[in-house]
């Protein structure tokens, strides 16, 4: 029974791991911290999995557990050796489809988002994941109106950073 559960969990996580990676990318600055947070989120997901009823989408359920772990449960890694910084590596866009200015803009945008506080990051994350304001407000535990207002403020903030 446990083996079956383990198997189905690993299969689902493997399929949806990109969600967790994106959260880690948003909340950490280097590879060690990224892996550390990924590990902690995996444990939290696994611990909560037996109660996962399947009435919600696995990905939606993952958003909550991942964000809750990144924002609240996770204690920053004690490892202090900073390997390569993400700014230069993970966010470097190599696609030829972008022209220089767009690439430059994206780099600045990612940098700007990294400077937001934990709650703002969560809002941006869910927005980027195409979640509607109902789901965003439910995940954060605030009203829909307040989620909208805050999101607009973040957009203005980013606009100012990009076009000073």
């Amino acid at each position: 029974m446990k083996k079956e559960l383990e198997h189905s969990f690993v299969e689902l996580l493997e399929k949806h791991q990109n969600i967790v990676h994106k959260v880690c990318r948003l909340y950490t600055n280097n590879y060690d911290a990224h892996n550390d947070l990924f590990q902690e989120i995996t444990i939290q997901l696994w611990k909560a999995y037996p109660k996962f009823r399947g009435d919600a989408k696995f990905s939606t359920w993952m958003y909550r557990v991942s964000l809750n772990t990144a924002i609240t449960l996770y204690r920053k890694s004690k490892r202090t050796i900073n390997t390569q910084d993400f700014e230069d590596v993970a966010f470097k866009i190599k696609s030829d489809a972008y022209d220089d200015t767009e690439e430059e803009q994206l780099k600045i945008l990612y940098k700007a988002i990294h400077q937001l506080n934990d709650i703002e990051k969560a809002l941006v994350f869910l927005y980027l994941e195409d979640k509607d304001y109902r789901e965003i407000s439910e995940t954060l535990g605030i009203s829909e109106v307040n989620a909208r207002v805050k999101m607009n403020r973040i957009k203005t903030k980013l606009k100012t950073i990009l076009n000073p």
């Binding site: 990109n18 990224h34 590990q39 996770y74 995940t139 954060l140 957009k155």
Partner: protein, 210 residues
């Protein structure tokens, strides 16, 4: 185009960066969590154990202490009532903590999860506060008892002028208060450090509701 829409385009591109296989994930399930809830849980267990030991071990470990206590509590009913009360309080805190931990759910909304962790921390805070008050009161009663009943001390005290008595009493009170205060600051520091980020984020969320 909206800045975030530009980002969205890039964000949702499939990425193979850091991609893990099932083989990488299995060992991860066996690792131990290092979440703040777990740390909080260990601290609360240590807290419970520490104060239980402080309260009861001397009584069971030392016969002379027991004899002294028995002489203080000449009334058996009073002693029985105090013991029952102490155990009752400990049981109550264990129950409240158990309930608080059960209420912490990682699938809750971000705000509710923070709320339930803060509530758990508050229960530990009240438990510590209760013990500090009891420790303070016991210290003061202990001093009072020593000065009024200990033959050696009462003898010394008898030669004191009123001024000296007042000064000694003040020193004792100040000593007790400082002792309790230092302990309290120590606790605040531990929890302050542990929950600094959580408190900051909780305030941030609350600010959104104004």
């Amino acid at each position: 185009m909206d800045e975030l829409d530009l980002l969205k385009k890039d964000w949702n591109k499939p990425s193979d960066h850091n991609k893990l296989s099932a083989k990488d994930i299995y060992p991860m399930l066996l690792k131990k969590s290092s979440s703040i809830v777990k740390t909080l849980f260990y601290i609360s267990i240590a807290e419970l154990a520490f104060w239980i030991i402080i309260n009861f071990i001397p009584y069971f470990a030392s016969d002379s202490y027991k004899a002294k206590l028995d002489s203080v509590y000449t009334n058996e009913y009073v002693f029985g009532a105090i013991t029952t009360f102490s155990y009752g309080i400990i049981l109550l805190f264990i129950y409240l903590l158990y309930k608080a931990y059960k209420a912490i759910s990682v699938t809750d909304s971000i705000k509710n999860l923070m709320k339930s962790i803060i509530k758990t921390r508050k229960i530990i805070k009240y438990y510590v506060l209760y013990n500090l008050v009891v420790a303070g009161v016991s210290l003061l009663i202990g001093f009072y008892y020593a000065f009024t009943h200990d033959p050696e001390l009462t003898d010394k005290f008898a030669h004191f002028t009123t001024k000296e008595v007042v000064i000694t009493s003040m020193i004792i009170v100040v000593f007790t208060v400082v002792f309790i205060l230092i302990l309290w600051l120590f606790y605040r520091l531990i929890y302050g450090l542990l929950l600094k980020r959580l408190n900051k984020n909780y305030q941030e969320l609350k600010k959104l509701e104004v």
